[in-house]
């Protein structure tokens, strides 16, 4: 076999490629490319007609430039011309260019399709294959419309060459995947199934893929493929290693075809026909037997090919889930792999065993490997393998081994990689809840979770422990005692304070008899944490305090003193201030009876699916938690968790917390007792569902809260809330942002107030403030004309995923804005997690009868949720080093767009939100900053460094954060400011 054949050389191309590869810098490369592009352009535009060879060469160069990552906006026509060449290589390059660079220029598509049509009709198999490859590579709907009807004909035509059949089968598969409606089923389908009998193994290999895809949607039409596939498979697995000649791969007969056939069989239940089934079981046994034979080669290719078939066989056995004997054999085989020296095999064995664990036949067999799996969790060096081990432990867990598994996972958590901590936390929480024999163990486990990995314990987890403690009176005393002890630790996680605050507020009385945990001791313990906590936690603690006043009258004077303090009553945070004022008044004016009624113990929570399970499902996609859901069919699941019922709405739940307390499903209380149960005081911090009713005088915030979910018509909230959301435009029917939207947004990255937009009709002003992960924004719409605006409708839209990242609650404004008047709109903003794109503000109104509409980007960027952090140089450098993974850093070098004034720069950086650290950078010209982005779900620590170079009028900006996307995004935002 010759190396690259001689006629092939496009020397000019080779020279060009080697020039590019030798370029020392990106700039040099770009320069060389631009030179080449200019050259090609002039050739294409020149008067001299180019011959086919030159055209091919230049088109190939363009393709190369495109594949380097540069944009190409010409040459398409020349490429299309090449398609009609009758020289193979010219045609080939033309097709390659089209496959890689096709765009939906309709004129071009027509020409391309014409050329393809000619080649398909040419009866030259090489040309036909090229055309089919092109259709398969492009796979667009346009191509489907033009050719989907022809290809089945080519595929089953008696006179088609084998290679053409192969290409036609996979081409059809690609078109079917893209637009199934375009591929007509018909009598050809029966003939396709019979390709499984084809003499040519290559044809069978291609056809199986097509059939596997088609039969998923039309299982009955393709049912006959089962017996054909079984007999083909049986012939392959029983053949000697040399029988299949070139289809034998490292002594393994037809491994790709075998795997594909086994996949096809997984589309169907076990064969009904006893003879077929017998033959299949025999083949599966043969595969399992062969796994025990000594290898025929030491090459890894041999063992990989052999094991690929083995794993696919095991998948089929698990899919059937009906042959106990095979299941147990499969499990034993995987057990051997668990200790194999090949990391790949250990990984796959752990993964495969996970599915085996959910079969009732093999669950016990899987459990016997528990020690090996625990050992893998401790000793595997590759995090992805450890992840599989953790998954498997989760899947094999049942009542008999729950304590062992949970304690191992807790131990693992202490050193686990950050990337998987949250998932491990969820899993531990679920297992602890599901298999708890006694509730004290459950409470201990969750508190341990908070202690070990507090940052990764999501709300779902600690809400859930509160639900369970509230619902089980036999655990309440223990829980109160345990949280009281946990709070003694000098540094305890804020989540611990939340759980502790809530539980002591409800059940502190159960431990009040012990002088060591008397009411004043409980109070001063909690209050010692108060000042270190976030607003949400402080709000919760204030509710605990008012509950204490009810539970322990002796603490009343002390607590009233705390509430009365200026730092509470005049707190700038409206939530805290409101609570302090209302609770103080309530405690002073209400009689003991009223107080006792209002502040009664929380009612039990409705039993529903564990919200943690729902969260895990969301995290891992559907089916991830199924091992627990449908796998274990034992009756043990009910006593602690209540009936586990699937909630179909888990995906669409707007905020993870909203569904948590099961309030969403509960009908709104028909007649809310006035004043409402004190539980709501507490709940409204967390829940944005309709049950978060105003308890003591509605505030605007609470009215906004209801907007996330339209309240039922009879709910009193309907009056306060927006009309049905149907009236609001969805993202699809608002216009694109105005062209200057990005520029306007940039103006607000480092400042919070100003004019957002102005034209002849309308001025929009912004005033906003942000604290922690919350923000409030006032928008002022000024009518600059003398005519009334009608149907004035400003709305905030969350494009894409933003809904899960940022909650913005708006209040409707009056539909008319008089000439010269200004209306104000208040927006409450909560950052749920980090986000990249700002929400859109759509403003629509009628002016003099003509509809006006306008879309802007709302000036809410992730840096608004910055909390500045002061630190010493040493700390800074230590943290800087900790964030040294390449993904954590983002850097930009850019030209100064404004005069380089140190004071202005400082002001901008402060406006951006980070703290400015002096005496950290050895070079006093440089700026160094630090801060924490606060979101509801997580906090992201950020370090930044800005190095001005006055001489070059350039800056270098470096961001390091614990999250890649945040680093990049902050870097982009900030770089535009100088």
């Amino acid at each position: 076999m010759p190396a690259v054949s001689k006629g092939d050389g496009m020397r000019g191309l080779a020279v060009f490629i080697s020039d590019i590869r030798n370029c020392k810098s990106k700039e040099a490369e770009i320069k060389r490319i631009n030179k080449e592009l200019a050259n090609i352009r002039s050739k294409f535009k020149g008067d001299k007609a180019l011959d086919g060879y030159s055209k091919k060469k230049y088109v190939c160069k363009l393709l190369f430039i495109f594949l380097l990552g540069h944009d190409i906006d010409f040459g398409h026509m020349e490429a299309v011309n090449l398609l009609s060449s009758n020289k193979y290589t010219e045609k080939q390059i033309g097709y390659l260019f089209i496959s890689v660079l096709v765009n939906s220029n309709s004129e071009l598509i027509r020409l391309i399709n014409n050329a393809i049509k000619n080649d398909l009709a040419s009866r030259n198999p090489t040309f036909m294959c090229l055309a089919l490859h092109c259709i398969a590579n492009v796979g667009s709907r346009e191509m489907g419309e033009a050719f989907a009807a022809d290809i089945p004909r080519i595929l089953v035509a008696g006179d088609s060459m084998d290679s053409v059949k192969q290409s036609a089968a996979l081409c059809l598969l690609r078109l079917y995947k893209a637009s199934p409606d375009l591929v007509p089923m018909g009598e050809w389908t029966a003939r396709v199934v019979h390709l499984l009998n084809d003499q040519h193994m290559g044809v069978v290999t291609a056809a199986v893929s097509l059939i596997t895809c088609l039969c998923k949607k039309n299982p009955d039409d393709f049912k006959t493929c089962i017996s054909l596939a079984v007999s083909r498979l049986s012939r392959i697995v029983s053949s000697a290693s040399t029988d299949l000649q070139d289809y034998t791969y490292y002594f393994v007969p037809a491994p790709w075809l075998s795997v594909k056939l086994l996949r096809l069989l997984q589309c169907y239940p076990p064969p009904e026909d006893a003879a077929v089934k017998g033959r299949l079981v025999e083949s599966l046994e043969t595969v399992l037997n062969k796994a025990q034979e000594p290898p025929k080669s030491k090459k890894v290719q041999h063992s990989n090919a052999k094991n690929a078939i083995l794993f696919e066989t095991i998948s089929l056995i698990i899919h059937y889930d009906s042959e106990p004997n095979l299941l147990v054999r499969a499990c034993n085989q995987l057990g051997q792999f668990l200790q194999h020296r090949e990391t790949n095999l250990r990984y796959l064995a752990l993964e495969s065993m996970c599915t085996l664990a959910s079969s009732e036949f093999s669950h016990e067999a899987v459990k016997t490997h528990i020690d090996t799996v625990i050992n893998a969790l401790k000793t595997e060096r590759d995090v992805s393998v450890r992840q599989r081990a953790a998954d498997l432990l989760y899947a094999m867990c049942d009542r008999s081994n729950a304590k062992q598994i949970v304690s191992e996972m807790l131990r693992y958590l202490e050193t686990a990689d950050y990337a998987i901590r949250e998932e491990i936390v969820l899993k531990v929480a679920i297992l602890a809840e599901k298999y708890a024999v006694d509730y004290s163990w459950y409470v201990d486990t969750i508190l341990n979770l908070i202690r070990i990995a507090g940052d990764y314990v999501s709300e779902e987890v600690w809400y859930r422990v509160l639900q369970i403690v509230t619902n089980r009176d036999d655990v309440q005393g223990y829980a109160a005692k345990t949280v009281f002890e946990a709070l003694q630790a000098p540094a305890c996680h804020e989540n611990m304070v939340k759980v502790g605050g809530y539980i002591l507020g409800e059940f502190g009385n159960l431990i009040a008899g012990d002088p060591r945990s008397s009411p004043p001791v409980q109070f001063s313990l909690l209050h010692s944490k108060f000042h270190l906590c976030s607003v949400a936690t402080r709000a919760l603690l204030l509710s605990t305090y008012i509950k204490f006043i009810n539970l322990f009258p002796e603490t009343k004077a002390t607590i009233q003193g705390v509430l009365r303090a200026g730092s509470q009553l005049r707190n700038a945070d409206v939530e805290l201030q409101q609570r302090a004022v209302e609770y103080l008044t309530l405690s002073s004016v209400a009689s003991t009876d009223v107080l006792a009624t209002v502040l009664e113990e929380m009612p039990p929570f409705p039993e529903r699916e564990s919200s943690i399970l729902a969260k895990l499902k969301r995290k891992k996609g559907p089916g991830a938690a199924s091992a627990l859901d449908d796998g274990r069919r034992d009756a043990s699941s009910s006593d602690i968790n209540g009936a586990v019922e699937p909630t179909p709405s888990t995906v669409s739940t707007p905020s993870p917390s909203a569904d948590l307390l099961g309030l969403r499903a509960a009908p709104p209380p028909a007649a809310a007792p006035a004043p409402a149960s004190a539980g709501n005081l507490l709940v409204d911090v967390f829940s944005d569902g309709p049950a978060a009713q105003p308890s003591l005088g509605p505030t605007p915030e609470e009215a906004f809260l209801s907007e996330l979910e339209p309240p039922a018509p009879e709910s009193p909230m309907a009056l306060l809330a927006d009309p049905a959301p149907a009236a609001d435009p969805g993202p699809e029917d608002i216009g694109p942002p105005v062209p200057e939207a990005d520029e306007l947004l940039n103006k607000f990255v480092c400042k919070n107030n100003g004019v957002l937009f102005e034209n002849q009709l309308l001025q929009i002003g912004v005033k906003s403030e942000f604290r922690q992960n919350l923000g409030r924004m006032y928008l002022f719409y000024g009518n600059k004309t003398s005519v009334q605006f009608q149907n004035f409708l400003p709305t905030v839209v969350h494009p894409g995923d933003l809904q899960t990242q940022l909650a913005v609650q708006t209040k409707r404004v009056a539909a008319q804005v008089d000439g010269g008047a200004q209306v104000q709109q208040v927006l409450n903003i909560e950052c749920l997690r980090d986000f990249l794109t700002p929400p859109l503000l759509s403003v629509r109104f009628r002016y003099g009868g003509a509809p006006q509409s306008l879309t802007l980007k709302l000036p809410v960027t992730i840096n608004k949720f910055f909390q500045p952090t002061e630190m010493a140089a040493q700390d800074f450098f230590q943290r800087w080093k900790q964030l040294s993974l390449p993904l954590q850093e983002a850097q930009k070098i850019f030209k100064a767009n404004h005069p380089m004034d140190a004071e202005v720069t400082k002001a901008k950086l402060l406006g951006f939100g980070s703290a400015l650290l002096d005496n950290v950078d050895p070079n006093p010209e440089n700026f160094v900053g630090a801060g924490i982005i606060q979101t509801k779900a997580l906090q992201v620590g950020c370090l930044l460094r800005l190095e001005p170079n006055a001489q070059a009028q350039m800056y270098r900006l470096t961001l390091r954060t614990s999250k890649e996307s945040v680093s990049r995004h902050l870097c982009e935002l900030l770089a535009q400011q100088f």
Partner: protein, 156 residues
Amino acid sequence: MQFMLLFSRRGKLRLQKWYVPLSDKEKKKITRELVQTVLARKPKMCSFLEWRDLKIVYRRYASLYFCCAIEDQDNELITLEIIHRYVELLDKCFGSVCELDIFNFEKAYFILDEFLLGGEVQETSKKNVLKAIEQADLLQEEAETPRSVLEEIGLT
């Protein structure tokens, strides 16, 4: 298979083949992300990783990384051998895969199309794939006429 990427140890993309429709922007983003992820892995680590809702299978040959994205149901080990068979095919045609580093990028695409189509294995027999390529070479030699070196460099 959803896509295949070949890149050098220094992170330079040498070949990209996409079997699902994606925008150029998305392709660039995925490439950047995966090149970084795969290059950051240590030699003894396993060849598979979970990425978004896909499985990544990769293997290194000399200074080149071959990286395939497959779906949840797809078989990891057989994908490793898809990579190996492709490397064998390239070796046969080029003498050594390293040459891919330098020239013949278009040829690497043609060979791939003969072997994999629409993300599925089309022909596993080395002989048959090479026959298809060889036929193409023959066809081409018939068509070519010798040209002067100057002309080929584009100096005339």
